[in-house]
Every structure is written in structure tokens, then in C-alpha cells.
Symmetry: C2
Subunit: 716 residues, 2 copies
């Protein structure tokens, strides 16, 4: 008996204190609370799964993983007298359906969970109109249990608010990942199609658990080869593996593919041969993958080929592909991340200038994919002016989950705070309340196709994301894709509880850490509206002095415009007037520095170093204060983390402790390099609270990090 007890303790302790980060937020920790454990057990002990599709096999598999782990029982799969019934609406008996009201509200991916009573027997019901909805409902239930929420009065009907909820993998065929900080691409092409790795299945589980329903497998800077039979056979194997999890596969299509793999002389979208080539290629794909999602396209941007090469427009290009895909229910996601080779206008204005004239001319199965801000995934940017400016087109938002500008592999930064901020920004495009979320969910558009994309932070790292806390960003992105109006604070709590523990002594301080981490990231890099002043190439460290790159708008100096007179980018009428691309209410608010939110001050204004801000201190002083705040925030993270030791596994405690040390070192590096550099212009005293930098400005300027992750050294 003693031996038995000991073995159990071991197993339990192994489970609690050396958990495998590979399992992400699906840790399914044993339920410690006895009351809840009894409550859940009463529900999960006998499950009737009234379906025998591949997706219902997935549901069964997930319950067989989760329930023993959480409740120490094996669910009994029965055909009657269940404690939990999982059934599509169409398969409910009359007596069962009678208990429900509102099933007509359940969309094709939604679910409805509620306790019902039939013939004096009470049980919990998960119902939906499709198996996919049942899968999402099951994950919802498990999510509630993982968070230790009581199911007693559960009565929930949820539908996702966006249709296409995608990950974008910037994965290359050689398995390097552009801006990837988590190892290699998870797609092991050489071993496909024969070898379906366990990781593909667990990837699908993780994504299904947060409602992600599509994935673009290859980099926006694409290789045409992925459209060749050699690769399509492998893509099909992945699509087959993902299908039961409700995940469709998409590909980035290189616009010049008709030339590169088709042997044609042109890729002109109005050319008959080219159009035929795409029609045939698309048909070929759909013979192998009947539910192929469609194409993502980056065209005429940063060297990628596109319709402009032939004097054709984005609409010509997008619609050609849309026409080829439409008979198969496929879609085109056409990226709006363009900036002209010729016109030297403010980068922030270029996409709007190019795309707004096309409003209303894209085919119905086209989504215009717009980055959250007009520059490029900065720690903070105002929302992209295209949101709200194309009411007769389907716009989708593109967020970056991988931390290209937010600390790559080494920084704890909770991005749902950034996502939430953008989604809740009011565009005023149709009066007050015209949030970005409303723009993308179709409320303010005449079009009904909706979507969202997140540039994946996933790789071959055992914990999937490199930094262990970056998992929270994948999780949070999925939750916001399902419901763009969720609060970042609630997402943080969900993730912490599911991944670690529900103990409030852990959840409360860690929620504060997560929520504060994004502002810290802004503060020690680009406070007060500064943007795009990172080191060239790898982006991991500071580079406000960068002025030597091929285009003016690749250089840091273009963005901060620091001189003896001040700092900041004048985007008002007296400057680039990017402001005019926003609604009148915002123009009025941001036109005057005094009414501009300080978060955006230097985004819209060039102000003197001694400009007096709201707190009575100068711009220079406050700039330094923000940098220092950021550094101190990281110190606080470390201090708080020390107290979290009892609540987490040893491995992750130690790893995070070490990463926070490195993050502090890098936050200090940003502060020191940027302030020394800006001081050359301000010619003002460094405030007393700024410690003396350990190195000179020359040292920072000369520092090369040739092999920093995520880049090609030839870019440096």
C-alpha cells in the first residue's frame, strides 16, 4: 500500500511539477477541488456520442485524453442514459429538442450547451448543426473544466464571429521560418506524405481547441514549387490529417507560377492562357483536396511578382484567382501590404492610396488582408486607415503572433493586449462605435465574407513557440479570432489557469505581469508613438541610427526624424497628412498634440525636445522616463516570478527565470542605445534616474548580431 501511495504521489507530482510544455494549454491537470471533481464526474462518466464521423472520433479521442487526466475516470461511451449527450440537432429526439429554444441561432460552426431533462433523467447536452460545432462545443466544455468553472448552470450558445480564422505560416520549403523563433518549420516535407507526425495531430488539436479553422502552410514570400505535384501530394496528406479537426488547408500562391512552373511566357492576369493555367491548376488541387481553402497572395510588394508587372491592377489579379476558385468554394486573400517602388509618399499612406479606389470591385470570394497598422507590426501602431474605408469590400485583419518586432525568442510579451487594443479602436467610419472589430465582422460592410489571420509563432521547438509564454499569444489570437470582443484580461486568466494552475496566488500576479508586459515592451523600445527604429535585418535590438538601407522608408531615421529641433513624424496637414485618411473625428483629435493620446504623440507630430507634456515635464524627460519604466517593468516581472516558484514546474520556473534575465539585459540595451542616440540631438542632460550606460553609443552602433534567429545573414 505504501508503495502504491508513493507511486501515485510520484505520478501526481510528476504531472504537476514537471509538466510537458508540449501539451500547451491542454495540460488537463487533475481537478483538485473535490466539489468540482464530483460535479464534473457526474457529467462525464457516461457519454453518448451520437455520431460516427472522423470528427466524432476526434471528439472521443479528446475526451479519452482529458477525462482520465482530470478526473481519473475513463468516460464510458454508451448508447443510452448518458450523463453527457453530444449530438447534432438533427439527431435529437423530439423529447430532447423540445427542451431547447433558439437552436435556429446555432450557425454552421456554433454550439449550444445546456442541461436538459428527458424522462426524469437529467443530463448535459452539447448540440450543434455540424460535427465541427460539436467538436468546438466539446472543447468549450473541457475549457470550462480546466478553468475550474462550475457547470451547474451552464447555458451557452456560441457562434464564432469571423468565418475564416487562419494561421499564416511564413514557412519556407527548406524549413527555415522567416521571422521564426521557434526552430524549424513543423512541415517535414521530406517525410511526407508517408509520415504523419504526432506533432501534426497535436497541432490540429491545439488549433481546434481555440477555434482556428484554417492554415496557410507556406510563406507569403512564396516559392511556386509548392503548387507542383511533388508537393501537392504532401499538402494533401496534411489536409487529410487536419480535416477531422475542422481545419482547412490554404497555400500562398506565387503570382508568377504560370511562368515558373507552367512554362508560360507571361503571368498577365488578363491573358487567356494564364487564366486557363490557373483554372487547371486549381482544378488539379481540388481533385486531391476537395475542401482546399484557397490562396493567400502577396503581390507587388517587396519584390514579389504581381499584376502590376503587366500594367494590371490588384483587382485584376485577385479576381482572376477568385474566378478560378469560386466554383470550388475557395477564396482569395489578397494582401494590402504594399508600398510603391516609385512614389516616395509616407509609408503609412501607401496601402490606403492604392486600395481605396478599388473598393467594391473585388469579387465576393476575395478578402483583402490588411495588417493591423499601416507600417509593419510595430509594438504600437494606430489601426490601419483601410479599416472602415472600404465598406464595399471584405477586409480581414492580419496580426503578427511571432514576435518579429517584439523580442523574438527572448521576450515575455502578451500580445492579446495589442490585439485587443486594435480591435477596440473606433474608426468612426460610420459614426461612434465603428470599431475595427465591427469592421472585420461584417457589421459595417455590404459584404459578408469575414476573416482574420495570425502570422504563426509555431516551430519545431518542443514547446512549439520557443519562449514558453509565447504560447499565450497563439491561444489568445485564437480566442479573439472566435470573438474579437473578448477582453485580454480574461484571456490571460484562461490561459494561466489551463496551462499552470487556478490558484489565485498564481493567477492574480501573473495576470498583471501578462497585461503589463505589452506596455513594457512599448516603453523600452518605442514609447510615445515612436516606431520602426530597430536594428536592420534581425530586428532584435535597437537601431535608431539606421540610415543606410536601400529605401528611405526602410531606415529608422525616416520614422523618428530626430533633429536638433525635436523628434517625431508629422502626419498632420503640415506634414505628410496621413491623418486625412482617418475619419473626421480622429483628424480633429490627432491634429493637435494637446489632444493626441500620448501613446500616439510622435506617430503624428514632430515636437521639440522641450515640449511640455501633460505631466508638466518635457518630452525629452518623459521619453527617458518611459524607457526606464519599461526596464523597471521587466525587473518587476523577474521579482514577481521568483514568488511563483511553488506553483509551477521546476523546469519552466528555471527556464523563465533565465529568459527574464536576458530580457532585462536586452531592455536595458534598447534604453541605453536609444537614449544615447537621441541625446545627440536633444543635447539635454540625461535625467538622473537613467543609470550610466555600460557602453558608448559607438559600441551600440557597431554591434552586430549576425546570426540572430529568424533572419538570413545576407540581409545585414
Amino acid at each position: 500500500m505504501k508503495k502504491l501511495l508513493f507511486l501515485i504521489m510520484l505520478c501526481v507530482s510528476m504531472h504537476s511539477y514537471s509538466q510537458d510544455a508540449y501539451n500547451l494549454w491542454l495540460q488537463y491537470h487533475p481537478i483538485q477541488n473535490e466539489t468540482l471533481s464530483k460535479e464534473y464526474t457526474a457529467i462525464l462518466n457516461t457519454v453518448e456520442l451520437r455520431s460516427t464521423t472522423p470528427t466524432s472520433a476526434v471528439i472521443k479521442n479528446e475526451l479519452n485524453i482529458a477525462v482520465p487526466a482530470m478526473l481519473s475516470i475513463n468516460p464510458n461511451f454508451a448508447t443510452s442514459s448518458p450523463s453527457l449527450l453530444i449530438s447534432k440537432v438533427a439527431d435529437l429526439s423530439e423529447a430532447e429538442s423540445e427542451q431547447l429554444s433558439g437552436t435556429q441561432e446555432i450557425g454552421s460552426e456554433g454550439f449550444y450547451i445546456k442541461p436538459i431533462q428527458v424522462n426524469k433523467k437529467k443530463f448535459l447536452l452539447i448540440t450543434a448543426t455540424t460535427d465541427k460545432g460539436l467538436l468546438y462545443g466539446t472543447y468549450y466544455l473541457l475549457n470550462q473544466m480546466q478553468q475550474n468553472n462550475s457547470l451547474k448552470s451552464i447555458d451557452v450558445l456560441e457562434n464564432p464571429q469571423l468565418q475564416k480564422r487562419l494561421l499564416n505560416h511564413w514557412d519556407n520549403l527548406d524549413r527555415t521560418v522567416e521571422r521564426g523563433y521557434a526552430g524549424f518549420s513543423i512541415w517535414d516535407w521530406h517525410l511526407l506524405p508517408e509520415v504523419i507526425k504526432k506533432e501534426y495531430i497535436d497541432y490540429a488539436r491545439a488549433n481546434a481547441s481555440i477555434g482556428i479553422n484554417g492554415t496557410v502552410l507556406n510563406n507569403v514570400n512564396a516559392s511556386a514549387e509548392i503548387l507542383e505535384p511533388f508537393y501537392l501530394e504532401k499538402v494533401k496528406a496534411l489536409a487529410d490529417a487536419f480535416r477531422p479537426y475542422g481545419i482547412q488547408v490554404y497555400l500562398t500562391a506565387r503570382f508568377s507560377a504560370p511562368i515558373e512552373i507552367g512554362g508560360l511566357e507571361t503571368a498577365d492576369p488578363l491573358n487567356k492562357e494564364v487564366r486557363n493555367w490557373w483554372n487547371q491548376k486549381v482544378s488539379e488541387i481540388y481533385t486531391q483536396i476537395p475542401d482546399f481553402g484557397g490562396f493567400l497572395v502577396k503581390a507587388n510588394s517587396e519584390g514579389q511578382p504581381g499584376p502590376n508587372n503587366y500594367g494590371r491592377s490588384h483587382v485584376d489579379g485577385a479576381n482572376m484567382l477568385a474566378e478560378a476558385l469560386q466554383p470550388h468554394n475557395g477564396i482569395v486573400m489578397w494582401r494590402a501590404f504594399v508600398y510603391s517602388d516609385e512614389k516616395p509618399d509616407d509609408r503609412a499612406k501607401q496601402a490606403y492610396t492604392e486600395f481605396v479606389p478599388f473598393d467594391g470591385t473585388f469579387k465576393d470570394n476575395v478578402l483583402v488582408q490588411v495588417k493591423n497598422g499601416a507600417i509593419d507590426f510595430q509594438p504600437r501602431e494606430p489601426f490601419h486607415p483601410l479599416f472602415g474605408a472600404m465598406p464595399n469590400s471584405s477586409l480581414m485583419i492580419e496580426f503578427q503572433i511571432t514576435q518579429e518586432y517584439l523580442g523574438g525568442i527572448s521576450h515575455l510579451t502578451f500580445l492579446p493586449k495589442l490585439f485587443e487594443e486594435t480591435l477596440q479602436e473606433d474608426t468612426f467610419s460610420q459614426g461612434a462605435g465603428s470599431t475595427v472589430a465591427k469592421v472585420i465582422d461584417g457589421s459595417l460592410s455590404s459584404k459578408k465574407l469575414t476573416g482574420i489571420a495570425g502570422v504563426s509563432n509555431i516551430g519545431t521547438a518542443h514547446n512549439w513557440t520557443g519562449h514558453p509564454f509565447a504560447q499565450a499569444n497563439w491561444y489568445g489570437y485564437g480566442r479573439l479570432a472566435w470573438n474579437p470582443n473578448l477582453k485580454a484580461e480574461n484571456i490571460a486568466k484562461e490561459w494561466l489557469k489551463m496551462t499552470f494552475t487556478s490558484n489565485p496566488k498564481f493567477v492574480e500576479p501573473m495576470t498583471r505581469i501578462l497585461l503589463n508586459s505589452r506596455e513594457a515592451a512599448v516603453d523600452y523600445r518605442t514609447p510615445l508613438g515612436l516606431h520602426h527604429i530597430m536594428a536592420a535585418g534581425h530586428h532584435q535590438g535597437p537601431g535608431p541610427w539606421v540610415d543606410y538601407l536601400g529605401r528611405a522608408d526602410w531606415n529608422s531615421v525616416y520614422y523618428h526624424k530626430a533633429d536638433k529641433n525635436g523628434i517625431g513624424f508629422d502626419r498632420t496637414k503640415t506634414g505628410s497628412n496621413a491623418l486625412e485618411q482617418y475619419a473626421q473625428e480622429l483628424q480633429e483629435r490627432y491634429n493637435d498634440p494637446k489632444t493626441t493620446p500620448e501613446n500616439y504623440l510622435l506617430w503624428f507630430h514632430h515636437l521639440p525636445w522641450d515640449y511640455t507634456m501633460n505631466n508638466g515635464n518635457t518630452l525629452w524627460y518623459n521619453l527617458a522616463q518611459h524607457y526606464q519604466n519599461g526596464v523597471e517593468a521587466v525587473e518587476n516581472m523577474s521579482t514577481t516570478w521568483q514568488q511563483m516558484k511553488p506553483y509551477v514546474g521546476t523546469d519552466i520556473f528555471t527556464e523563465t527565470e533565465m529568459l527574464l534575465k536576458l530580457q532585462l539585459k536586452e531592455a536595458q540595451w534598447w534604453r541605453d542605445a536609444c537614449l544615447l542616440y537621441f541625446q545627440e540631438f536633444s543635447q539635454l542632460e540625461m535625467p538622473a534616474f537613467i543609470p550610466k550606460a555600460p557602453h558608448t553609443l559607438e559600441y551600440y552602433k557597431n554591434f552586430r548580431n549576425r546570426y540572430a534567429p529568424g533572419i538570413n545573414p545576407s540581409w545585414d
Copy 2:
């Protein structure tokens, strides 16, 4: 109680059937056999560890991992009345030492394990002269337990037979791994020195468990930058992490470093400034890493810079570095893998021609590192003629663990069979019995520095090696580094038992599979002495037609020399006479095709397609037979594997099943492509047992695998 039992069953079942491949051969499965379990428990229950060094902390940690897992008890670490005493000889009491004889035989890395009795108390003793020896002794004991061997009459004294037992990582600073099939480099440079990953510690444990005592961190095609302070700080962090495990760190030194990072005009090894620069650089390294191992150098080989660039010899170069390292007890490993840019002599002769004249002129702390064969890690090569030809130099052997020519990521191939074959080959350099093993262990040399290197197959793959069975090659290399005369069969059994189960129903058939796999690999690629006929660049598939590369001896046609008159490379007097580089006995044996072992037939002879071999069939027929044998061997592997399902975890069963399917496809690819190609020359009928190839020779010739792992597409 029921719940408890169930939880235990779960834990046990989780442990037995879904084991984590990350744990390599240190799975520490619970001991099922009750008798053994009692026997081990009697020994392991009370441990006196009479030492408090970092290495003894490692010993304690390993026991705290292994003992609970295997025996469900926590070892009690006591200061008296032990059941197991782990103590250096110097710390033994008189009464204890009296029990032993032969402690003077224990070398600096050896150990002695034996039961002793003091004051009527019996206990097991592990003793050694150093803590490192105690560590190796502890791993030996655990190894015996993992193999379910009785410890009742254990009485073993072991010393490693080679001093420097190294891994060589061909890892680049951008974390790609040349010829790596297991993901990225495990060295996460960006996170060092702050973040010491758990993987580094488990790497050290795995290596210590097989007696590996050194590791070269960076690629032989080196970047000089690793010698800069920015990287040395990170190298030091790794050295500090490895030190308690008895592992020294080494670096590949780029010969032109004085120019590239030193700012000098030359790297001439006889130049005073250059010598000073190296002296200072070496001193700088030793200030940070007092037990730094030394340098590995690839010079004047495949474009790497070296002394020849300055009209100096290999000896000049090696001795310069040796002189700088000698005061610090460091060594130089100077690679003999050279082939002249000018002289077009048989590649197999070049290293011998260049190095033999230098015999006896290298400094004492120089090892000449020689590949196992004279070409380049082929599936089969005769031993390198340098072995035995330089009796006044220290030669070390270099094996390739990573499967560059043996199927990379997708082929189950047990390499200790190859290692054993070479090590037991008789060079006849000092009469019969002058095996390669005796050459490298110093028995036949006037020098006493000995060593061995294995090109690592380790990467960021969760299971470390990509293909799960490739772990056996890392394990087997380590065992042979410790004792070059071990039998591959015994190594196979050890590894199977430790990694999976001791059940003979598994071990017996799987041992046969492992042992047969190398011959299968030879048969379906390069039978009968063929070599170097793989596809250009990636080497993963066949390419006997390759004739277009920059140097003649990079082309496949150079090596098989197929023409209408026959196939094979005449290395006798009538050909390149590479044979004269071998001892007289071998010259006589290999001179005549009739006495040449068929394994080497086409290595030494060019023979007609209708040449009659020992079995009465023609060369052409037997060639086809061997290819077919290889393919059928893989089919048999698959069939046998199906029966192994009850004995292994589900995940690894399925993964291996899928990999064997892929291996079969690739074996068939090799067979079909090679036979179709050679048939163009033989003009003979394809034997009836060869199935019709699914594709034409043109198809195989045109097949491009641009992104196969381990390569740079620009090489193709």
C-alpha cells in the same frame, strides 16, 4: 482504493506505452522482474556518496531520477551503513581498501565495482580514482540494471581504451547543421549565456552515460567568429554546464582567423605575429575555460584556408597551434581529409600521399584525425590506408554518426555494425592482428595520445536524432569509443533493452533487424564495393549518372567507371594502384578479383558485366541480386516491425511503421534508378526477380529534391 489502483495503472501504462523518446536510452523503465527488483532494491536503498563535488551532485541527481523510476523507492543518502558505497579510492577506509585488489589498475577515468564486506556488513562498492570515474561507474551500474542483469556476482574494473572520446557537431552559427537531419543546432546562441536549456543538461547526461568526454561545438567548415569574445562568453557557459559531467568543450578553429578577426595581413603559421596572435587567443580562451579541450582543424580541404596557402605544410600549421595549446594541456586534432586541388590522382590515395611523409614530425599534443575510409563515409569502404602507416604519430579515427550517405532522416540503419567492421579490420601493418582498433588505441604507435571522433547526428528534434532508431548509433558510437572491441550485436541488445524492453520476444527479432540493416543499406545503394554514386548535393537518393560537377572526383562516374566493358574502379597496379598503400598481405589478397572479398570487388577492380563470381552467376546478375536483397530486407524489417506492436509505445510504433514505408520507397528508388542506368552499359537483360521500374531512367535523372534536409539548395 479502486481509484488509486486505476491511477497507478494509468501512470504505469503511460510510462510503458507512451514513453518519451527524449529520454533516449535512459528510460529507466520500472523493473518488472520481482527477483531482480528485490536484488536491486537491496543495493540501492541506502547510498553513501563519499564526495561533495559538482560531479557527485550529478551522480546523486542521476540516482534520484533512475532509482525511483526503476524501483519505486527514493534512495536514502546516508553517511554510514550503506548498501551502496560510492567513494574514490583515496577516501576508502583501510578496512574497505583491504577488500580490493588491483586498484592500481584503475585509470583516471576508470572504475571498479565489487561487493565487499566490512564489519560483517555486505555492500556494493563503486570506486575510482576520480569523481569522473565514479560517475562512469554509476552509469555502468544503472546500465546493468536497465538490461536486467543480476548484480550478485558483479566484479568489474573498466578503463576506457581511448583518451579523447569526442562528438563533432557540424553545427553552423546560424544554427543550421551541415548534413544534419534532426532539426537545428541544439546550441541556442542567442539565448546564451543567460539561458542554460534543460537540453544541454540532458545532452551531458546522455553523453556521460556512454563515456563521451568531449564535444566540438562548431562545424569543421568553420566561422572564425566563434573565437570572438561575443561567442566565447557563450562557449564558456556551455563548458561550465558540461564540466560536472566530465565533458570538455573544444572548438573548430578557422585557420585564417588571424586575418578575419585578428586584423592581421597573413595567417602564415611561421609568421611571428600570427604565432603571437594564436598564443594570445588561446590564453584568452583558457582564462574563461581552464579545461578547454583544444582545437579541431580542417585546413586546405574543400576550400578551407590552411598552411598550404602560405607554402607551409600541415605540420607547420598543426604544430603552431599545438605549441600555443601545450602550456594549457590542450590538443590539436588536425584532419587528414584532404585532396589536392592540382594533382588528379585517385582520391583514395591522396590523404596517404600527403600525410605519410609527415610521420613522426607532429608535436605530442597533436592527433591526426582520419576518416574511417579513404573516400568519404560511404556505406562501405575499406579502412583508410593511413591506419598503420604512421606509427610515429597519434592517429584518431573519425566516424560519421549522422547518416549523410546512409539515408539521412528516413532510414533505419544500425551503424555500430559499420564501426565494428572497420575497427576489426586487420591492417597487417605490424603483422597479423594489427587491427584498426589497435592502431588507434596506441598499441602499435610510439605515441600515447589516443582519440576518436563521431560526427554527431544530434539536433533540436524532440527525440534528438530525427529517426528514432538513429539514437542507437549515438549510443553505439559512445560504447565503441569506450571499448573499440565491443561487438555490435551486444551493443544492439543493450540499446534495445534499455530503450524499449528486455522481453526476448522483442529483443531477439529486433537485434536481427538492427544487425541486418547496415548490409541492407549497402545492398540497395552500393553493393559489391561500389561507392559514391549518390545524387549530387543532398545525397539522399541515387545519382550514378552524375558527371557534371566541378571536379572529376566529385562525380559518380569517376567512382563506378561503368562502360560497355564493365564496372568498378581498378585500384591495382593496372589501375590507380591505391592498393600499394596497404600492407603486403592485403596487396596480395586484393590484387586478384578471385581472392578479393566480394564486399570490395568493385572498389579494387574493373570487371566485365559477365564476369563469373563465386556463386556461378555473372557480376551483372549478382549486382541486381544485391539490390533486390536490400529492398527485400527493408520489406522484412516492416513485416517484423508489425509484430513488435505489443512491446513498444503506440507513438513510436506508428512513427517507425510510417518511416519504414518511406525507407522501402527510397530503397526501391535506389534499386530502380541504378539498375536502369547500369543496364545502359551492360546491355544485359534485367533479371526476372527485378520488378519493372515504375518510372523511366529519364524520370530518375530529372528528379530534383531541392529542399531535402541537411543541404543548401545552391549546391544542387
